[in-house]
């Protein structure tokens, strides 16, 4: 079970609380977690990753265990603490704009 924290606007869109959980078969990677998240909450498709390119949207960042995972290859295994559910994967809207 993977815990994912979402930013406020995406919580509202998906009608969920600040944290959701998803199950990922095998070694959890960023791609696998996002795939599972979008499968559970299809309204989130296109809001975190571009629909076509699957690239992270520029003003969205990923953090895990206090480290910035935004630029890590999406098929890299997430930290053990995230894989076990001890720590959440954070999806964050960048502090920019007004």
């Amino acid at each position: 079970m993977i815990r994912v924290e979402l930013p406020q606007h995406l919580r509202t869109l998906a009608q969920v609380g600040h944290e959701v959980t998803v199950d990922v078969a095998g070694e959890p990677t960023l791609r696998a977690v996002l795939d599972a998240l979008e499968a559970h909450y299809p309204m989130l498709r296109g809001t975190i990753r571009d629909h076509v390119t699957q690239e992270r949207r520029p003003f969205v960042r990923f953090y895990a265990c206090a480290e910035d995972w935004s630029h890590e290859p999406v098929d890299t295994s997430l930290p053990r603490a995230v894989a076990t559910g001890a720590e959440p994967l954070l999806v964050i809207g960048a502090m920019s704009g007004g």
């Binding site: 309204m43 296109g46 571009d50």
Partner: protein
């Protein structure tokens, strides 16, 4: 008892304003989708309870919302706007090629006869169509693949397709406008498109017969006369009487012919409304006075309408999708400002009153005329 429902898109959410036919007392609902930019909402003429909303964010991209109960409840619909094939390039601001990139839906145009059929005008400029109530979208790629598309350049707001007009007598004929490519017409339901910019002149375009490149801000037509289309261009108010084959200027005695909105009286095809803006450098009304200008002669001869509008220290703009008319016996006119006011007139502009004064900056205004 008839009534109206005004759909307002703002920089920070959507608002729905309702009133009976007197249009004096208003209920305000919102913000819906708080914190998101709502570029446009529009109801289906075939089913007024069906409303579509374009919800966008620089952070989280495009969401397309749909209501089946007149805006009381909403559900996300399909938001995948994928260009057909491998999109090529248009010109960037500096004149270099730039790949086509989807940014947002600027304008939603429901079919006049089928609540599940909708068109969407997007940035970077393209038109999409849904026939399943906005669950899935297909590009009508003939427009973006037009032989001139590689020469299209964005206006300051982006390369946006912001206007879609459907001919009420022939649904295969549509008019669209793109900033800053110009106006186009299809006669085959969107498969192929013709630039319709003859007669437009722009000081910034050296070639007076340029086929594309014109910064068209808005088009409007009366449903009874679809060959007559009015245009607010970057500068100049224009008119065509032959479906866009040629345009002529009708700016006449306007204090400035720069502006964004233009609309047509619901019962008088020769009565049109604009809101002159000082200039392309100063996007606010001239002289600190908010005035709608009305022509009852299809242009050239204009009168200012200011009764009930602020006449000092007012420096707002009225954006291109932020004016609408209802179809009650006494035509109602509505517009929203970048200062967050939405004004209504129940007598075709003779008298105005604010419905709300302090919304976020208004991006779009549409109105539905409802019967009990």
């Amino acid at each position: 008892m008839s009534g109206v429902r005004v759909l307002v898109g703002t920089r920070k959410g959507a608002f729905i304003l309702t009133s009976d036919g007197a249009r004096k007392n208003w209920d305000v609902s919102g913000p819906h989708f708080a914190g998101w930019e709502i570029y446009h909402l529009k109801g289906s003429p075939a089913d007024p309870n069906r409303i579509y909303a374009s919800q966008t964010s620089s952070w989280f991209g495009q969401v397309l919302q749909r209501s089946n109960d007149g805006g009381k409840t909403w559900a996300p619909a399909g938001n995948k706007f994928a260009y057909h094939g491998t999109p090529g390039t248009h010109l960037w601001y500096d004149g270099t090629p730039h790949p086509w990139e989807f940014a947002r839906v600027w304008h939603i145009e429901p079919s006049l006869t089928d609540a599940d059929t909708i068109y969407a005008g997007v940035q970077d400029a393209a038109i999409f169509k849904s026939t399943d109530g906005a669950q899935t979208w297909e590009e009508l790629e003939g427009l973006r693949e037009h032989r001139t598309a590689g020469q299209w350049q964005p206006g300051a707001g982006g390369l946006c397709l912001h206007t879609i007009l459907i001919d009420p007598t022939n649904p295969k004929r549509m008019f669209i406008a793109i900033s800053a490519a110009g106006a186009f017409r299809t006669d085959d339901g969107g498969q192929s498109w013709t630039p319709i910019n003859k007669g437009l002149t722009s000081a910034q375009i050296p070639n007076p017969t340029a086929e594309v490149g014109h910064c068209v801000h808005r088009l409007a037509m009366h449903r009874s006369r679809p060959n007559v289309v009015f245009m607010q261009k970057h500068w100049d108010v224009m008119r065509t009487d032959n479906g866009g084959e040629s345009w002529h200027e009708v700016s006449g005695n306007l204090p400035t012919d720069f502006g964004f909105v233009i609309d047509v009286h619901s019962h008088e095809p020769e009565t049109i409304f604009v809101v002159p803006i000082k200039s392309d450098s100063e996007h606010f009304v001239p002289d600190g006075r908010l005035r709608v200008y009305r022509s009852k002669t299809g242009g050239n001869d204009w009168e200012p309408l200011s009764n009930g509008l602020p006449q000092q220290d007012c420096y707002v703009n009225v954006l291109r999708d932020a004016m609408a008319v209802d179809s009650l016996d006494s035509c109602g006119v509505y517009f929203g400002t970048t200062g967050g006011q939405v004004y209504a007139s129940a007598d075709a502009g003779d008298h105005w009153m604010p419905i709300v004064r302090d919304l976020p900056a208004v991006l779009s205004v549409e109105v539905q005329t409802l019967s009990a």
